[in-house]
C-alpha cells in the first residue's frame, strides 16, 4: 500500500486523544461492520485515514478491519461508503457508545 499522507504532516496518533473520552462499550454488538471483501475499494481504504477515531486499519491480509470501541458516532464512514456499500452502519443500542461530557 502506498501512503497518501502528505509528506510534511507529522504522524499524529489518535489513541492518546480517545483516552480522554468516556464510552460504554456494547461488548459483542459492534454497531458498524465491514463487509467481507477480497480487495478494499478506494472508498473503504480511505477510511483508514478519514475516520477521526482511527477505527479502521489495514490487516496483513490486505483487508480493512474495524474496531468500533473508540467510535465517535460521527457518520463519516457511512457517508464515504454509502455509494459503495462496503460497510453496515447502525447506531449503538440506546445508552451505549460514546458519552460526551462536554460535546
Amino acid at each position: 500500500m502506498t501512503t497518501t499522507e502528505p509528506v510534511s504532516a507529522p504522524v499524529v496518533k489518535v489513541e492518546g486523544k480517545l483516552y480522554t473520552n468516556r464510552y460504554l462499550v456494547d461488548a459483542g454488538h459492534p454497531h458498524i461492520k465491514v463487509k467481507p471483501h477480497e480487495k478494499p475499494s478506494k472508498a473503504l481504504l480511505s477510511l483508514t485515514h478519514t475516520c477521526p477515531a482511527g477505527c479502521y486499519s489495514l490487516n496483513d491480509k490486505g483487508h480493512v478491519e474495524i474496531a468500533v470501541d473508540g467510535c465517535l458516532e460521527c457518520g463519516t464512514c457511512r457517508v464515504v461508503c454509502a455509494a459503495t456499500g462496503d460497510i453496515e452502519w447502525s447506531y449503538p443500542r440506546g445508552g451505549f457508545g460514546v458519552l460526551f461530557k462536554f460535546g
Binding site: 510534511s8 504532516a9 486523544k17 480517545l18 480511505s46 463519516t76 457517508v79
Partner: protein
C-alpha cells in the same frame, strides 16, 4: 407503552428540544426519544448559542441556562503556515443586559434544555434509539419503532430532529443520503485552563468572551476551517473540512487538528492546558440546494436533519431551534383545530420556514456551497497566502520604496492567480453572494 401520544419528537438536540418544549407548553401530549444516556451525551457543537432564536422559545433562558461567556469580540483569521491576516471587531456595546451570543458547552446546555422540556410536561425517554417509522396502510406515518422491547410507539405526528447523521429519515426514504462533498467533518478538543489565564490571554474581564474563526492552510497540505471559542475555564478548539477533501487528500482529521494547535499563532493560546475530551461531528454544508422535503403525511423534519445550516455565517443551532419552533407552532395549531396531520396541512410548516430568516438566508447563499467546493484550493490556500505575503511586504521596512512594494504585491497576485483568474474569482463570488 400502549398509550398513544399527540406527537413523538425524535432527538433531544436544539431542534427537538425547541419543538418538544413549545408543544408541551401548549398542552400537547409529547413523547421525546433520545438515544444517549442523557440529552447532550451524543451531541457536539463548537459551540455558540444565538440568543434570539432561543429567546423566542424560552424567553427567560438567562435565568438558569448554563452559559459560558457572552461574546464581545470576533476575530477572523486567514492562515498560512507561518502567519495569519485578519480582521477583528470588539465592542463594549456587546456588554449589554441581554447579550446576543454566548459560548456554551453543549452536553451541559442540552441537559438544561431537556430539564425545561420535562418541566413543561413532556415525557423524555433516554437510552432509546429509534430504528424506523411506522406507517398505516395509506403510508401515513403513525409512530416509530425503537430498540426497546415492545418498542413500537404511536402518535398523530412525528417530528424528526435526529441530527445530520439521522438514519431514521433515510431508512424510511424521507430524505436522500448525504454526499461526501455536501457535508463537513469537524473534530474538536476541550482545553481546560484556569479562568484567570483564559481572561488574561484573551484580554477579557468577567463573563466576556472571544470567538476566533480561522480559515486557510494550517500546515503544508492541510487546509480547513477552524475555530477557537473561549468558555469560562476552557477553550473549545476545532477544525474541519469537507468529507470528500479528507477522503481524497489522505489527510487525517486529528492530524489537521494537531497542525492547527501547533500553528505559531495558536500554540501560545493553548499553552499549559489540559485536554479533557476529543469529539467529532458532521456539519451539513450543502445549503439551500441540499434541503430535502421537510414534511409529509404525519411527519416533519427539523434542524440539521433538514440541512438547515448557513455555512457562510456558521449558523446552525439557531436554525435548529427556529425550525423546531415553527414546526411546533404548525402542529399545535392543527391539533387545536382538530385537523389531521396530512401532508397538505403540514405544508403550513414549510410556508412558515419560507417566510423566516431560515429559508431567506439559505436561499440568498444557495450558490455559495458549490462556489466554495469548486474553489476551495484558492480560498483556503492561495488567497490567504497571497494576502499574508502582501501584508508582510507592506509592513516590513527594508529600504525598498513604497511604489516598488506596491508593484511587487500586484505582481505576486498576478503570479499567484492570473489577472483573469482574479477578476473571474471576484465575479463568480459576487454572483454567488448577492
Amino acid at each position: 407503552m400502549n398509550e398513544k401520544f399527540d406527537v413523538i419528537v425524535v432527538g433531544a438536540g436544539p431542534s427537538g428540544n425547541a419543538a418538544a418544549y413549545t408543544m408541551a407548553k401548549a398542552g400537547l401530549k409529547v413523547l421525546q426519544l433520545e438515544r444517549g444516556e442523557y440529552p447532550g451525551s451524543k451531541n457536539v457543537q463548537g459551540a455558540i448559542l444565538y440568543s434570539d432564536a432561543l429567546e423566542k422559545v424560552v424567553p427567560d433562558f438567562r435565568d438558569d441556562a448554563p452559559l459560558e461567556r457572552h461574546i464581545i469580540e470576533q476575530r477572523m483569521w486567514m492562515l498560512d503556515e507561518t502567519s495569519y491576516i485578519g480582521m477583528q471587531y470588539r465592542s463594549e456595546d456587546f456588554n449589554e443586559e441581554k447579550p446576543n451570543r454566548y459560548t456554551i458547552i453543549r452536553a451541559q446546555f442540552d441537559k438544561w434544555f431537556s430539564h425545561r422540556v420535562r418541566e413543561a410536561g413532556a415525557i423524555v425517554l433516554c437510552e432509546t434509539t429509534v430504528t424506523d417509522l411506522i406507517r398505516d396502510s395509506r403510508g401515513k406515518v403513525i409512530g416509530v419503532r425503537t430498540d426497546r422491547i415492545d418498542g413500537n410507539l404511536l402518535a398523530d405526528v412525528v417530528v424528526l430532529g435526529e441530527g445530520v447523521n439521522g438514519l431514521v429519515g433515510q431508512t424510511a426514504g424521507l430524505r436522500p443520503e448525504l454526499k461526501p462533498n455536501n457535508v463537513a467533518l469537524a473534530v474538536k478538543e476541550m482545553h481546560f485552563l484556569p479562568q484567570e489565564v483564559v481572561e488574561s490571554r484573551f484580554n477579557l474581564k468577567g463573563d466576556e468572551g472571544v470567538v476566533i474563526e480561522a480559515m486557510g492552510t494550517v500546515s503544508a497540505g492541510l487546509s480547513g476551517l477552524g475555530f477557537i471559542y473561549t468558555n469560562k475555564e476552557s477553550l473549545s478548539i476545532g477544525i474541519g473540512s469537507l468529507v470528500s477533501d479528507f477522503s481524497e487528500t489522505g489527510a487525517t482529521p486529528y492530524g489537521m487538528l494537531d497542525a492547527f494547535k501547533n500553528h505559531p499563532s495558536v500554540k501560545p493560546l493553548l499553552a499549559g492546558s489540559e485536554v479533557k475530551e476529543y469529539s467529532a461531528h458532521l456539519i451539513p454544508e450543502g445549503g439551500w440546494r441540499a434541503i430535502p422535503e421537510v414534511y409529509g403525511d404525519g411527519w416533519v423534519i427539523v434542524g440539521d436533519a433538514g440541512q438547515f445550516v448557513n455555512s457562510v455565517h456558521r449558523e446552525g443551532s439557531n436554525m435548529a431551534m427556529t425550525t423546531g419552533l415553527l414546526a411546533a407552532q404548525t402542529i399545535t395549531r392543527l391539533h387545536r383545530m382538530r385537523e389531521d396531520f396530512s401532508k397538505a396541512n403540514l405544508a403550513a410548516y414549510k410556508q412558515a420556514l419560507d417566510e423566516s430568516y431560515v429559508m431567506k438566508d439559505l436561499k440568498k447563499y444557495k450558490d455559495i456551497p458549490s462556489f466554495i467546493h469548486r474553489n476551495s484550493k484558492m480560498l483556503l490556500g492561495v488567497y490567504p497566502h497571497l494576502l499574508g505575503q502582501a501584508a508582510q511586504n507592506w509592513f516590513r521596512v527594508d529600504g525598498t520604496d513604497k511604489r516598488t512594494k506596491e508593484k511587487e504585491i500586484l505582481a505576486s497576485f498576478r503570479k499567484g492567480r492570473s489577472l483573469t483568474g482574479l477578476i473571474g474569482d471576484a465575479f463568480k463570488f459576487a454572483r454567488a453572494w448577492r
